[in-house]
């Protein structure tokens, strides 16, 4: 049910029980679940059906710390949100990602992996993937892992006509929410912009699903506008922001044929490994996945590496010399996307500069810590041992990891995954939302998306975002007395 204006929505007589701000994977999954549970809801989207330079400009912001992507390129302000440029990687968080891990300060979720498990089939359907494939041990410290791949589902494309024709889901496009307006321990309305006008939309319940940076920005700004009455206990608001750092850790001389024999693969030049649960505990490191990428048909790098290997490993080199160009035909490299420990100093703040609607822009403080270096170094070494065990290659760890040098600036930097800022916890002293994604101290304010992640594991976050949204939908349906 598409409303062309707030006025048209108000006059329509449609009375949603839940106002959902944002139409990305979190907001859309929640809306679809509420529809199933016969709870009418209203989607309020800042952008239109397509993004534009003008809509993206609202996401501009400064990054302080490590080199990172431009914020206005990292998310899409449009119907369907950032699913519009999602690559489709689907993987659940590891069970132990939810645990309190003594070697990771501030770790531990108030829910368990089992709490999300009932939502896996519905999430699989939404994202159009088959059932999860469990990890397989290569060594006791290294697992072979297989991601699943969504087509990928573009929520805006897939559900546009569904939403337009739904009598249970209302939609307002080009309607940025400027601030949340609190009442007595609740949100009374959301203040929105439509063209040159500012309007209020009264809300019963509201769920903010605007993204892993925008959620913090909207709450910080609303709190500033209303003397801290939107997030009454804001100790962690905006903080413990996380990414999945992406760095090249090592080079390899390997045999693609060896891998083809050993493992199924989703791509002819990539294999994925991860430190096992035992390895994470034993070495007090975070999770990570390691992409073994070979330079197929690119023997120059392989030869250079092989020449070096002949100096440091003459016996091995002589043994495989006859196979070189046949079995051992590949040079390659190992890129890792690994877990970042949650730290309070990594955070979203409000900048002094404002966007076109007068709302302060985001300022992101983000820096990798030595704990991430430790994870990277250990996993590279463990993968090297796995290659030896399988006798399918040898690995050289990159110098910057060994000599404590700076992280290379020519790597990707981050996985485009924005997590934390409104973290989930069992206490307002350590988080913004409770186990149901409800803001502490507020009766009707909920947060959706990866900003609620307490820790980020190594898995791409979309799958967990969708499962959390479906679970929140069931919670709201039960609370609102649905059939």
């Amino acid at each position: 049910m598409l409303f062309r204006s707030v006025e048209e929505f108000t006059r329509s007589g449609f009375r949603p029980r839940v106002c959902i701000v944002g139409t990305g994977p979190a907001g859309m999954s929640l809306a679809l679940r509420l529809q199933e549970r016969k709870i009418p809801c209203l989607l309020v989207e800042a952008g239109g059906y397509d993004f534009s330079a003008t809509s993206q400009d609202f996401y501009r912001g400064e990054v302080i710390g490590d080199r990172y992507h431009k914020l206005h390129e990292a998310r899409l302000r449009q119907f369907g949100g950032s699913s519009g440029h999602w690559t489709g990687w689907v993987c659940p968080l590891d069970d132990t990602d939810f645990d309190k891990r003594t070697y990771i300060p501030y770790s531990g979720w108030p829910i368990r992996a089992e709490d999300l498990l009932p939502y896996a089939p519905a999430a699989d359907d939404l994202l159009e993937v088959k059932a999860h494939i469990p990890n397989r041990h290569v060594t006791q410290d290294i697992d072979y892992i297989q991601y699943r791949f969504s087509p990928p589902v573009r929520f805006g494309t897939k559900y546009r006509s569904h939403v337009e024709q739904s009598s249970a889901i209302g939609l307002l496009l080009n309607t940025p929410v400027l601030e949340l307006v609190p009442g007595n321990g609740r949100i009374d309305s959301v203040k929105v912009s439509q063209g040159v006008e500012v309007r209020d939309i009264r809300v019963d319940h509201v769920c903010v699903c605007t993204g892993g940076i925008e959620n913090s920005r909207l709450l910080l700004w609303s709190n500033a506008r209303h003397a801290g009455s939107v997030v009454p206990q804001p100790a962690t608001l905006g903080r413990y922001w996380m990414e999945h750092p992406v760095q090249t850790l090592a080079d390899v001389v390997t045999t693609a044929k060896g891998y083809e024999k050993q493992f199924e693969t989703y791509s002819p030049d990539k294999w994925l490994f991860a430190p096992s649960e035992r390895a994470k505990r034993t070495y007090s490191i975070g999770g990570g996945h390691l992409w073994m990428r070979t330079h197929i048909n690119e023997q120059t790098q392989a030869k250079e590496l092989f020449h070096e290997a002949m100096c440091v490993a003459p016996d091995w080199s002589n043994r495989i010399l006859k196979q070189f160009g046949k079995e051992y035909r590949c040079g390659g490299y190992v890129v890792s996307e690994f877990e970042q420990f949650p730290l309070p100093q990594n955070r979203v703040e409000l900048d002094q500069n404002t966007d076109a609607l007068g709302v302060p822009r985001s300022r992101l403080f983000w820096k990798k810590a030595d704990t991430e270096r430790k994870t990277a170094l250990a996993t590279a070494r463990l993968l090297g041992e796995a290659l030896i065990k399988e006798d399918i290659g040898r690995l050289r760890i990159r110098n910057y990891l060994l000599d404590g040098g700076d992280w290379p600036s020519d790597d990707q930097g981050g996985g485009w995954h924005h997590m934390g800022g409104t973290r989930m916890s069992d206490s307002a002293a350590t988080g913004v939302v409770d186990k149901d994604c409800k803001v502490f101290g507020m009766s009707n304010l909920y947060i959706g998306g990866s900003s609620v992640f307490a820790t980020g594991g190594h898995a791409n976050p979309t799958y967990t975002i969708v499962k959390l949204a479906l679970r929140m939908g069931d919670h709201l349906a039960a609370k609102l007395g649905a059939a």
Binding site: Y106, L220, V312, K367, A369, L377, L402
Partner: protein, 65 residues
């Protein structure tokens, strides 16, 4: 979350030191150990290898290599 001093006010624009950081010396020690091919750090350390594996000039190698 026992250390409340980590919860800096929003006006703080600095990036304070990491409470769980390895010291610079630890990182350098790890690097030197690898580069010199000397036996690994203490058991359970980042670069601790099993009996049959050595690290030489950054290469992770079997002892017989």
């Amino acid at each position: 979350m026992s250390d409340k001093s980590e919860l800096q006010p929003a006006s703080d624009t600095s990036l304070p030191s990491n409470p769980v950081a390895m010291s610079r010396r630890q990182v350098l020690l790890a690097g030197m150990t690898v580069l010199s091919g000397v036996s690994p750090l203490l058991r359970g350390g980042v670069l601790d290898t099993c009996n049959t594996v050595v690290i030489r000039d950054g290469w992770v190698l079997a002892k017989g290599d």
